[in-house]
Subunit: 229 residues, 4 copies
């Protein structure tokens, strides 16, 4: 290892779980994860076209050759990065256990989670933005992507259905539309923070507005969803 990897997740620097046989000299999984971490940072910071393979390789604990060995090409590496970050958020969404809560409480929880996740994972927001600049042509090739997303829809559908049944939510809202409405605000204040800062002199995703914004989006969505008698 050339130098300590400043990986996004500290875990990536930990020795691999090879058990009792001690530290292995070459650890393929460790190497792959290291490359993926650095690539995530670099693609997120520079975009797909803007990122440089040399720059990624240099910050890695290994060499350019390994990058091609494991991921085939710059685009292959980019796809792997995308799959990983999308997988992360969907996995967490699963762990919310919204089915155990009252509909309003569950919606509140879901909005809060979405807000916090975007607020915290700027790399994810940037990568999604970048992928849209490329018309999503890379994530479209992912086999697991669609499957994973359908579970979110199911979650929201259930949530709405229970709210409607309980007489608390209006019954004319499409679950994907609701998801869109929630994501929009959470995503936008992070994704567009730079032009927003330039325009109005204030970072909309900065710490000073975090709590206020979080409440705002919960307020607005709940107000919108509540049945108007």
């Amino acid at each position: 290892m050339k130098k300590g990897s400043k990986a996004a997740t500290p875990a990536s620097a930990a020795p691999s779980p090879t058990g009792s046989e001690g530290r292995r000299k070459y650890d393929p999984e460790e190497t792959k994860r290291n490359i993926l971490d650095i690539a995530t940072q670099e693609f997120s910071a520079m975009g797909l076209t803007g990122a440089r393979v040399d720059a990624i390789a240099e910050r890695t604990n290994t060499t350019k050759r390994m990058l091609y060995y494991y991921f085939g090409s710059k685009e292959g590496l980019y796809e792997a990065v995308l799959e990983q970050v999308y997988g992360d958020i969907r996995a967490l969404e699963q762990e919310l256990h919204l089915a155990d809560m009252e509909p309003e409480e569950a919606l509140r929880e879901f909005i809060g989670f979405t807000f916090d996740y975007h607020d915290k994972h700027r790399d994810f927001v940037r990568l999604v933005t970048i992928e849209n600049v490329h018309s999503a042509k890379y994530i479209e090739q992912s086999k697991t992507f669609k499957a994973r997303n359908s579970t979110v829809v199911k979650t929201i559908e259930d949530l709405i259905a229970r709210g409607v049944a309980a007489g608390r939510f209006r019954d004319d809202v499409d679950p994907i539309d609701l998801h869109l409405m929630i994501s929009s605000f959470c995503f936008h204040r992070v994704a567009n923070r730079h032009t927003w800062s330039a325009a109005f002199g204030r970072d909309p995703s900065g710490p000073r507005s975090r709590a206020r914004h979080r409440e705002m989006v919960i307020d607005a969505v709940l107000c919108f969803m509540r049945r108007e008698d």
Copy 2:
């Protein structure tokens, strides 16, 4: 002229100032506008790093050399494109005459305009997205940018103040926050339509959801703004 330029400004389709005598061979304004139009399309489609100066020049009525003659560099051209598209939306915003309407009506109008503009001007949305990938470092250099944006804030401030005075709006909402909330949805459904389509199999900015989404965002924002007694 190869024709077919979907110019950002309607004015660009107007005949050159020489009147009815047909196309002038030496028309710098026309040349600049032509370059700018094509560049808007190309940067919007490919991003700053992805766009090719050669590709832009080829679709132009003139040569690559003129592009450098008028705009100095690829980045200079990109900046000019950004300035123009931002100028366009801000100019139209001022023509809404919101001050002549009732507060609720004015807010409805403003949301509707914002929705329609983003829905229609996908180039603008993409360019803003791209600029955020570059951390807004190009638009930050624009001298006119901040000044132009301050007028929107003023507009919204007035609108809120009148609504609060009339007892219709809550009085604890920051104008920039309100603007952010409105923009978020209008922007997001266009900007992220590709990943959204890939994830859920449906274009959130497509014609089938347009009217529904328009109503949704107006509903949600008005619900949020209305004073809760």
Copy 3:
């Protein structure tokens, strides 16, 4: 005239001698001289390949078109500049009237003049340097160049002959060699002042060493020429 020309020679800014008919609107001679002055500065500062036609034209009172009109090409302009600066020094050499002085006195005078001229006319020194980088291929085409130089040789030949006849100078020195020896020092301390400054931290052509160097070269050359009995 766009702006006052900061010509090297103040004379170039004076109105042309068109006599009583007043100021002419277009004065070809004045225009040519203006172009030549600016070009002298620019070629001297940047070299033939380094100088930019646009840069020259911009500092001129006229336009690029006129530059081509009068001088045909960048190289043509450069040749004109060379001819002029070489003409200037040779013309002044003629006015020394060395024939009226004692041989030693005349030699002293000639060395002093050569020293002072190089010390003062750095543009000339630079242009000669530049022309040598181009293997003198431009000045070689000049028709008047050789003729003008032969007069200097004649001057020095006479000077040496008189000194030999008077028993003061050694008789085995070639006039061109003598000229070379004198020029070397006068030229070098100006031409190579930049690398010399970088190497030793002191400008060899600066005012602090001027008088000392002037004396040095006179001393050395006279010592060399004096007959050793």
Copy 4:
């Protein structure tokens, strides 16, 4: 290898360090040296702006890409060339062992060496000339340059001091001035040979005047330095 490289350093003709097993395919030192040799010729012949990266690369055993790989840019390569040629002369100067000789003998030796070096290394003379056209802005950035030059000054200082102590040299001569006087002639007859040839029809650095000039400069400098009682 295309052969025929008149390398500045004799070492460059030596076999690669792998000994007798013949040419290695991957030999970075050889590649760098090869590029540097060709670049020395090309910059020397054409100047910094006049030289073409393509032309240099073409004469090389490798490609244009490697030139950027090792030297970063055209200017970076030029700087490397400058550093090398300056290093070469300074290195040889140190091998003269002037301290072991009588002052007059040592001075004679030093002048002779300087004369021969300039006479033989025209590339060096041209490159210094070229660097002065650029106001020495490239060599100024060299870290080793000044340090290396200070050793020459020391050498001459010692030489003068010993001559003064022995009552043979005048004691009012600055070492850098003496160095300048010696260099001037040796440099000038080579550097300005083209304009000189054009002016007087005779190459001042040609073989026919070599011996005569060598003696001339030794004579003149020694005459100048000798104490006048």
